[in-house]
């Protein structure tokens, strides 16, 4: 089976339908599948549920799909950088489900691993635990959280081979490996597409079994939200 597609448009062609649940990797704008997100926008699919740690920023990442009002619901841990998001949420256009970041990560990991639910102490005694089963293990309370899966997962990786084996770069890894496991259809954009045998098998983070489609994005645009630097000391 050929996993490599010529571009994002052809990788998504015929796959996206209104009302689908889409996972989208990245932390802030770091490691987001930017090219795939643009192609998702171009499909015109509406009423999407987007599972993503953040909601992009105004004009970038998932912010693009907020502009076109294609997202009905977000499942996220932090959405502070997006003014449009705030507007749409406050006006009731957009549903929002906040998950603690670690709970979100684990829900996705669990979903991809075939685990329908698990117990965590995160959020016990808070709004997050309301309406959920709480159980005591070894004298401590834990709240039950459900695993998450998606119709389509959009992932960004640094290097990938044509089999879909993936390696990530620095903190651009974040939610991408779990989301790769939790999509019924996982589509990956890779900055460097190589032939089998060119990746060190010991260094592969996501084995190709989790990946159905790959596109090559050799000139990925990357954005920095908070450019912080220090002065060079005089030699």
């Amino acid at each position: 089976m050929q996993k490599v597609y010529s571009d994002a448009k052809s990788a998504l062609a015929g796959q996206v339908k209104d009302g689908m649940t889409i996972m989208c990797g990245g932390f802030g704008l770091c490691g987001i599948p930017e090219v795939l997100i643009e192609a998702l926008k171009d499909t015109g699919a509406k009423n999407l549920t987007a599972i993503s740690n953040n909601a992009g920023t105004d004009g970038f990442g998932l912010g693009l799909l907020l502009e076109t009002r294609q997202i009905k619901k977000m499942i996220s841990s932090y959405v502070g950088e997006n003014k449009l998001f705030a507007q749409q949420y406050l006006s009731g256009e957009l549903e929002l489900e906040f998950n603690p970041q670690g709970t979100l990560a684990e829900r996705i990991r669990a979903g991809g691993a075939g685990i329908p639910a698990f117990f965590t102490k995160t959020g016990v005694g808070t709004l997050i635990a309301e309406g959920k089963e709480v159980k005591t293990f070894d004298g401590e309370d834990y709240v039950m959280e459900r695993g998450l899966v998606a119709d389509i997962s959009l992932v960004h990786a640094w290097k990938g081979d044509t089999e879909g084996n993936l390696i990530y770069r620095k903190t651009a890894r974040n939610f991408n490996p779990m989301m790769a496991t939790a999509g019924k259809l996982t589509i990956v954009e890779v900055e460097h597409l190589v032939q089998p045998g060119e990746l060190d098998p010991d260094a592969i983070v996501t084995p190709g079994v989790f990946v159905q489609r790959i596109i090559h994005v050799p000139n990925a645009k990357k954005h920095i939200e908070q450019r912080t630097t220090r002065k060079r000391e005089a030699a």
Partner: protein, 222 residues
């Protein structure tokens, strides 16, 4: 004189121990990294997937793939490792991180913490805060003792009970404010204890600005 932001950070840094793995929140907690004592090895964890966080990069060396949880560009160290968000929170929730230093809107005398939402206002989300306070071995809050509104009114932040939605129940071990330091017996019934005053701050100053009940056990004269 009350402590400055930097002095609060320096006081919080006294809770660091050699070999600690530490997660620092945004704001004053970030400043704590400037006060790691010489010769002490402390590894900073960033919940977006990095252990062994280095300083900001030199101008021109910024890397969009290398950021901290505040989305600021940073650098790596020879000790650095990268991992997924799931592994990151396995460290946090699994009790492998020694110390979390973070900011707060309110802290209650039983250790309840509120720092993520004000009902009726736009909520940005809890990010990793709920996981951090639930899982990290020791939780230190660094915050101004009271909130000052624009009209000059003050709102107390150390309370009998938090009236904002909680980030965690019975999770705070210590509070460092601009006026002093409190410890909290979060698992027992010992409540809150004032253990230190900022220079020039009196017990009466603390009482006037604190709703929470607290005992006094000052280790040293201010």
């Amino acid at each position: 004189m009350a402590w400055t932001r930097d002095q609060m950070a320096a006081r919080a840094a006294q809770e660091l121990r050699d070999g600690f793995y530490v997660n620092l929140g945004i704001g004053i907690p970030t400043l704590v990294s400037n006060y790691i004592p010489q010769g002490m090895k402390v590894s900073l964890q960033s919940e977006n997937g990095m252990l062994g966080m280095g300083p900001f990069p030199y101008e021109g060396d910024e890397d969009a793939d290398l950021i901290n949880a505040g989305k600021q560009t940073i650098t790596e160290l020879p000790t650095t490792s990268y991992f997924s968000s799931a592994d990151s929170f396995a460290m946090i929730r699994g009790g492998h991180i020694d110390l979390s230093i973070l900011g707060a809107m309110q802290v209650a005398e039983n250790g309840d913490l509120a720092n993520w939402m004000i009902p009726g206002k736009m909520v940005k989300g809890m990010g990793g805060a709920m996981d951090l306070v639930a899982g990290v071995k020791k939780v230190v809050v660094v915050m101004d003792h009271v909130a000052k509104a624009k009209d000059g009114m003050i709102e107390k932040k150390l309370l009998h009970r938090c009236n904002l939605p909680l980030t965690g129940a019975r999770v705070v071990d210590m509070v460092v404010t601009d006026l002093g330091v409190f410890t909290i017996d979060k698992h027992g019934s010992g409540g809150m204890t004032l253990v230190e005053l900022a220079p020039g701050v009196t017990l009466d100053d603390i009482k006037a600005n604190t709703e929470a009940s607290f005992q006094v056990a000052l280790a040293k004269a201010a």
